[in-house]
Symmetry: C2
Subunit: 376 residues, 2 copies
């Protein structure tokens, strides 16, 4: 937790549950990533936290933006981003949304299928397009399914078709999975992309860009590799496979930029046991999976907790949210322990919760309002 | 789909995604349940769909209400419900919420632990309280974890304590899991509750109520038992275990009341393949897990689809939502098939989606607004 976050929580004691996010840390993370990969252009994945203060700060730093929807395109423009700094990175778009983004000046779009490419040719003529390919996600704590991307052979044909349809077959993209701690995943993906790059060049398609996606990890309960080491591994792989003819390089960090800049402040609603002699206590918080902590699904992302009783004797706990939904349980199998003296009314902090929290929150499940947001 | 829903969709062609819900069907379901279990008092589980038109209609029918939060208590009161018709059924409540509900006249509360009971004694003195016990969930399509309820031995002690604390130890409750198709689960739970009932009576605690919870199933892709048969099995078990000394009986249906009264109307955004010869198409809709279809997690609830091309040749599909989140995939393993001619722009209907849709929807994940709601 940054000193600014600590000070705000101490001095303001905001109503729980809430997210407090340190914008200076956002800037610091942007600069760290830039330093680790100086040749890469950063497209912030807006979906990680689309709040205006975050976008404002990043616009000021010269960031570009990866938008998942036309609504996110608009949010970037409202924050002062130039249309040419925006990539519409969702491979699944309504044609009306493509048309709207094109109308606002957006000229870069992702795709992974022929029907999508034809929509782009019709409604965003002449735009730069990049094809997402399927790659391995080994090592990611939040691995992606096959939902996005296509096989390499199809990507090759589609990139040729893109040119024939009057689009600019600008580049290729992939995603190694979120919270990826294994640099080998990037290396394997880069090797795959480089082969396709060469194939396409041979076929006369002047592909010029590689979009490395996101997935750069944030420290939760476990240490993760340093971004400098990840950057070095990635740039090493790029140099190995592309030599001196490096293409434009894009990265789409979301979690890395905002994750450890935020903290969720919550209140303990109840600490109880299911039977008198049960060693495991249930700790119920006033935020849960439907209040913003969606990434605890399957106990995938394991947030670290701070309590006012830290340092006292601890025991095992199951941690759950406040709703009447029994799937609203955060951690039952991940060996969490909390102080035995923890009690209802105690405030707890969930560290590094700046990413994928506010936007996931349900609008009013069980009548609970979404968590409040404070940007400091 | 009811004729009223069909007519509304045909005549109004509302923007997608949206929920359209037939209030007459809500009434019909209420009456069907009432007829199947005439001795039970119905407490509608507000969380299933808290919209004012639904609550209004149920108030008019004389329904009682099961609220999960103070906000839901308020919604019931605003719809004209009497405070004494409201049960605050969440076993996990902030003491401030208990106080607020008590202040508005609510006098019935659930609990499953000593700390919660002590909160109630302090902030809702003299109220009727009921203890939730843990029971088996075999046969439920949306089984509950051990999050709510306590072991019988603890329940016994807590009910004695309730009286000592000046509360009215009114009853016992359980929940056999949602979308429960196995009446044996109710029978086993009733047997368990009846034994505790006798124990408590012997201990001088005048427990007078059994809350059977919810879980009454709705037809999705599969046939489910008729509510009359479920009601008969439940009342048979009650008679077997309680004889002529039947306690007050409460039921808390949510899904059963609103589930098949609603339909989600969505649009196909893209139909694509991952490789040219891949037999499985991906069908992307403009609504997904984070837009309201949260119950498709783990492919638990399997909605039935209607498309404008039904009857034409079909093939296997994976069905996914519109967001850049790869977990936003609805069905990959449940052998869904859709017409081969299905295309972007087609409208599809998801049947029996009146429950647990609007309230689960994320406030703006990926920039997408929550689905619109129409009550007809």
């Amino acid at each position: 937790m940054t000193p600014k976050l600590s000070a705000f929580l101490r001095d303001s004691a905001p109503a729980t549950p809430c997210l407090v996010l340190d914008l200076d840390r956002v800037e610091e993370n942007y600069r760290r990533l830039k330093a680790a990969m100086p040749l890469a252009r950063i497209y912030y994945a807006v979906k990680a936290n689309p709040a205006a203060p975050v976008l404002d700060r990043l616009v000021g730093l010269g960031s570009c933006f990866d938008a998942a929807s036309f609504e996110e395109v608009e949010a970037c423009l409202e924050a002062g981003a130039a249309p040419e700094s925006i990539s519409y990175g969702n491979t699944v778009k309504k044609e009306s949304a493509i048309r709207a983004a094109y109308g606002r000046g957006v000229r870069m779009f992702a795709f992974d299928s022929e029907p999508e490419l034809r929509k782009l040719a019709r409604s965003a003529p002449g735009s730069r397009v990049y094809c997402r390919i399927l790659v391995g996600n080994d090592g990611a704590e939040w691995p992606l399914s096959r939902k996005f991307g296509c096989e390499v052979e199809m990507a090759r044909e589609l990139m040729v078709l893109a040119g024939e349809l009057g689009l600019d077959p600008f580049g290729l993209s992939f995603h190694v999975g979120s919270q990826q701690v294994n640099t080998a995943a990037y290396e394997a993906a880069i090797a795959k992309v480089a082969m396709l790059f060469t194939d396409l060049r041979d076929a006369g398609v002047k592909v010029r860009m590689v979009n490395l996606g996101g997935g750069y990890p944030v420290r939760y309960r476990q240490e993760v590799p340093e971004i400098d080491d990840i950057g070095a591994a990635i740039m090493g792989a790029m140099a190995e496979h592309f030599g001196n003819a490096l293409p434009d390089i894009l990265v789409e960090p979301g979690r890395f930029i905002v994750g450890d800049a935020g903290v969720v402040s919550a209140e303990v609603v109840l600490v109880s046991r299911k039977a008198k002699d049960d060693p495991v206590r249930w700790v119920y918080l006033d935020i849960g999976r439907f209040g913003g902590l969606a990434e605890t699904e399957g106990e995938a992302i394991k947030y670290a907790f701070r309590t006012p009783r830290d340092g006292e004797a601890e025991g095992p706990v199951t941690i759950a949210g406040p709703t009447c939904d029994s799937t609203d349980t955060l951690y039952e199998k991940s060996n969490y322990r909390m102080p035995l003296s923890l009690d209802a009314g105690d405030r707890v902090e969930l560290l590094a919760t700046g990413a994928y929290v506010t936007s996931y929150a349900s609008q009013f499940f069980n009548g609970f309002k979404p968590l409040a947001e404070h940007y400091v």
